[in-house]
């Protein structure tokens, strides 16, 4: 699992991202790198607006498939690649909003100021990436608890540990995340 530095604003980062985009335009199999560095951002944005897991996964998948297909037509205009992806996501969400069926699972605001939310998305994405860097025990518990939505009892059974031990790991994992998140946000 590669955890990448987000630092969207750094100029070196921009040049590097541009190279990645150009490489992927020539050879679509290079798209994997763009995916790796943007997955958490796209997912975080969608999860934040669509508070429903299957819906979030479905939309995330859709965004990246569309991005892959449209990549040859992508033109570099000095905006982060993530902004383009999030624009695709915002459009897809708006499309789905038209269907009443989805409406109650979506952000009631509906209208989304993409530009202002980029930084908030970045912070959330960063939190997701930090989970990957937790010590393995804590990471396992945090993932099972928050991503797989398992109960403490289920996790304890799965890991062969006591419920007390799992609660401790959850506690230490969250504390750890909190400290690292604060640190990375200065």
């Amino acid at each position: 699992m590669v955890a990448r530095e987000p630092a969207l604003k750094a100029p070196g980062r921009e040049a590097e991202e541009r190279l990645l985009v150009e490489a992927a335009q020539k050879d679509p199999t290079k798209f994997a790198e763009l995916y790796e560095s943007n997955f958490e951002r796209v997912y975080a944005y969608i999860a934040w607006r669509v508070r429903h897991r299957e819906e979030t996964e479905d939309l995330t998948s859709d965004v990246f498939h569309r991005a892959l297909a449209s990549l040859p037509r992508f033109e570099w205009r000095g905006v982060p690649f993530a902004a383009w992806l999030i624009k695709i996501a915002a459009n897809l969400i708006a499309d789905r909003l038209k269907h009443r069926h989805y409406a109650n699972r979506l952000d009631p605001v509906g209208d989304d100021p993409v530009d202002r939310s980029l930084e908030a998305v970045e912070r959330r994405a960063q939190l997701f990436r930090l989970v990957d860097r937790l010590p393995v025990d804590q990471r396992r518990v945090i993932l099972m608890r928050f991503a797989e939505e398992k109960s403490i009892r289920e996790i304890a059974q799965k890991l062969g540990r006591t419920e007390g031990a799992v609660k401790q790991l959850q506690f230490r994992g969250l504390e750890n995340l909190r400290a690292r998140w604060d640190e990375s946000n200065g």
Binding site: R51, R161, F171
Partner: protein
């Protein structure tokens, strides 16, 4: 009322957060002030992506990307002959004629070519199953072609996607195949079953359950796909990319990077691979000591690809040369023990012409070589064994055997009655064999043993062992030496240190699934004895400032024994060992000179070994044995 711990209070907050997935800022129960920031963090974590979703989407995208770039191949010379694809599995079988008959019944195979040798063995045959040719031949040990019984299994499954896996399973079982995995729905979206045919080859069949999965594999319906087991999946993928210009289609890795399943394309074909999983009987060529399935590649430029493979690290078994049957080909072994034939078709030759040329080819061979035929040499170490085999003795030996089968997936290979009226059994756990004796009329003294058992999931095996009646010595915990381990005692008093090494390989380099662990008083004395008696090599020694050995490893032949000085609850457990050696008499004398006492003089045994027994100064019992003739197992 007792004050609830912070971690308990925090968990109640997390429960409250998770119970309100659609509320932006959920209402939280009151809690200590210092927990508030953590509760807010928990709210942000509600949308945490599932790891497998991220991996799966990546795989999907990679497939789409590859589909978008696939070049159209045009060739004038057809180096891939009519009816073949890039990849063809080549099976070595003990009775090729019988196997062809079986495959006809079980898999609706049709025979397309058969080339008998002058001695009656089938030198080469080809059958068609589904959309694929499969090559096969009889066993030619003198040329490195060995069958599953000789290797002790197979590190390659032949996998087929079919429209009705149940029908395929039913027909194969009716024809005499043995079920390894009954046909059932799998959580990865396929209905899957795995069989072993009467000749020891293994076949997997699956039918996609959903349209997404069907879409992904539609191209490979009814195409024979080799499924390789390798010791290190990630390294193997890199190697196949470099050596055979393979493209990675997908990879499923666990959080430690171990490859659970991967798919690569080579030319127009797919191969699948996974890391070794001894607990599911998936052993690598290295742990089996060979492979009965060769992967045959038809390629455009055989010389270029062969040198590319050799540069990447493949070993040449037979250099590329023109063959009488119309191919230019060479044979190679990759760093993971799999064998590949790389070929280009250079000339269309009719089967009659091949037979004619084959006669000429045979008569040019030296007559002595030709008449030698398939001589069967008795090896110093029988198939599937290693130099050192632990011998567990117990009053309740049959119950112990059942426990090992249930708790550790032991495979029973042999069960018979020993000379002293007890049971004698042999089992395989992962890549290791163990002997078990006792019960019945046996009145000896049981020798419970301490063993280091490497598994892919310590926690699960530990729990399972306890369910089956083992008692806990310690719960699973991460150790500072890079393993997660747990301890249990089985009903016969054997101690099992269940362990999973961190990192891509859960078994450390040089060790096996099962390793004996001694806790002697005076470990350096034991090491010294083993060096003098059995030419042991000291592999590792971790000692304290006063020279106390905390942990040491010594190698005898191809096997490693671990030990640590007795301390606290870890008191000496003298162990019984069965050692396969070249010359039992010589090693017996050498052990006595090193200070052992005789238990039994060298003597021929009815089961085909010449065996002697000694006891070392630390009360361990060593049987040294040399196979003198092959005796059927029963």
């Amino acid at each position: 009322m007792a004050k609830r711990s912070l971690s308990q209070q925090l968990d109640e907050l997390v429960d409250a957060v998770l119970a309100q997935p659609e509320v932006p800022e959920p209402a939280l129960p009151p809690a200590e002030a210092k927990l508030a920031p953590l509760a807010h963090l928990a709210i942000r974590l509600r949308g945490l992506p599932r790891q497998d979703f991220k991996t799966r989407l990546k795989t999907d995208l990679e497939r789409s990307a590859i589909m978008a770039t696939k070049p159209v191949m045009t060739t004038k010379v057809r180096p891939v002959p009519e009816g073949f694809r890039t990849v063809t599995p080549y099976l070595c079988v003990k009775d090729a004629a019988g196997a062809i008959e079986f495959y006809r019944k079980a898999f609706e195979a049709t025979e397309t070519l058969r080339l008998p040798m002058p001695d009656g063995r089938i030198g080469h045959a080809e059958i068609q199953i589904g959309k694929s040719r499969i090559m096969l031949s009889d066993e030619f040990p003198e040329m490195g072609a060995v069958s599953p019984p000789s290797v002790g299994g197979s590190p390659v499954d032949i996998h087929f996607y079919v429209e009705d896996v149940d029908a395929w399973g039913t027909r194969a079982i009716a024809a005499g195949a043995r079920i390894l995995v009954p046909v059932a729905d799998q959580d990865y979206g396929e209905r899957y079953g795995r069989l072993e045919d009467p000749f020891g080859h293994r076949w997997g069949f699956s039918t996609p359950l959903n349209e997404d999965r069907a879409q992904q594999v539609r191209e490979t319906f009814y195409v024979a796909t080799p499924y390789l087991v390798v010791a290190d999946g990630a390294k193997a993928i890199d190697f196949y990319k470099e050596a055979f210009a393979a493209t990675e289609l997908m990879r499923l890795a666990d959080p430690d990077g171990r490859i659970a399943h991967a798919e690569l394309t080579i030319g127009d074909s797919v191969i699948m691979l996974s890391g070794a999983a001894p607990e599911y009987g998936r052993l690598s060529p290295q742990s089996l000591g060979g492979t009965p399935v060769t992967i045959h590649l038809y390629v455009e430029n055989v010389d270029a690809l062969a040198s590319q493979a050799v540069e990447a690290g493949a070993k040449i078994l037979r250099p590329v040369q023109d063959q009488f049957y119309g191919d230019r080909s060479g044979r190679f072994e990759d760093p993971f023990g799999h064998v590949w034939i790389v070929s280009a078709h250079i000339e269309d030759v009719t089967p009659e012409e091949i037979r004619h040329r084959l006669d000429g080819f045979m008569s040019r061979q030296a007559p002595a070589e030709r008449q030698q035929g398939p001589t069967k040499r008795v090896k110093p170490i029988p198939e599937g064994f290693h130099t050192v085999t632990p011998y567990l003795t117990a009053r309740q030996a049959p119950q112990l055997l059942e426990f090992l089968k249930g708790a550790f997936g032991a495979e029973e290979l042999l069960r018979t009655t020993g000379a002293a009226g007890g049971m004698h059994a042999e089992v395989r756990i992962g890549d290791s064999k163990l002997m078990i004796g006792g019960g019945g009329a046996w009145r000896g003294t049981p020798m419970p043993t301490a063993l280091h058992l490497y598994v892919s999931d310590t926690d699960a095996v530990y729990r399972h062992a306890l369910e089956l009646g083992a008692t806990s010595i310690h719960e699973p915990m991460d150790q500072n030496y890079g393993e997660r381990s747990a301890g249990v005692k089985d009903l016969a008093g054997n101690t099992w240190y269940i362990a999973t090494k961190f990192g891509p390989q859960y078994i450390p380099e040089g060790l096996r699934s099962v390793n004996v662990y001694l806790h002697p008083r005076g470990a350096d004395g034991v090491i010294d004895f083993l060096k003098r008696a059995f030419a042991a090599d000291e592999v590792a020694r971790y000692a304290g400032p006063d020279g106390t050995i905390y942990h040491a490893q010594v190698r005898i032949g191809d096997s490693v024994i671990e030990m640590g000085e007795a301390h606290g609850p870890y008191q000496p457990m003298p162990t019984m060992f069965y050692l396969y050696v070249e010359d039992a008499d010589a090693w017996y004398r050498r052990a006595l000179q090193a200070g052992a006492t005789s238990i039994s003089e060298p003597a021929d045994q009815p089961y085909g070994d010449r065996k002697a027994g000694v006891k070392d100064p630390f009360d361990n019992v060593w049987y040294v044995a040399t196979p003198i003739k092959d005796v059927p197992m029963s």
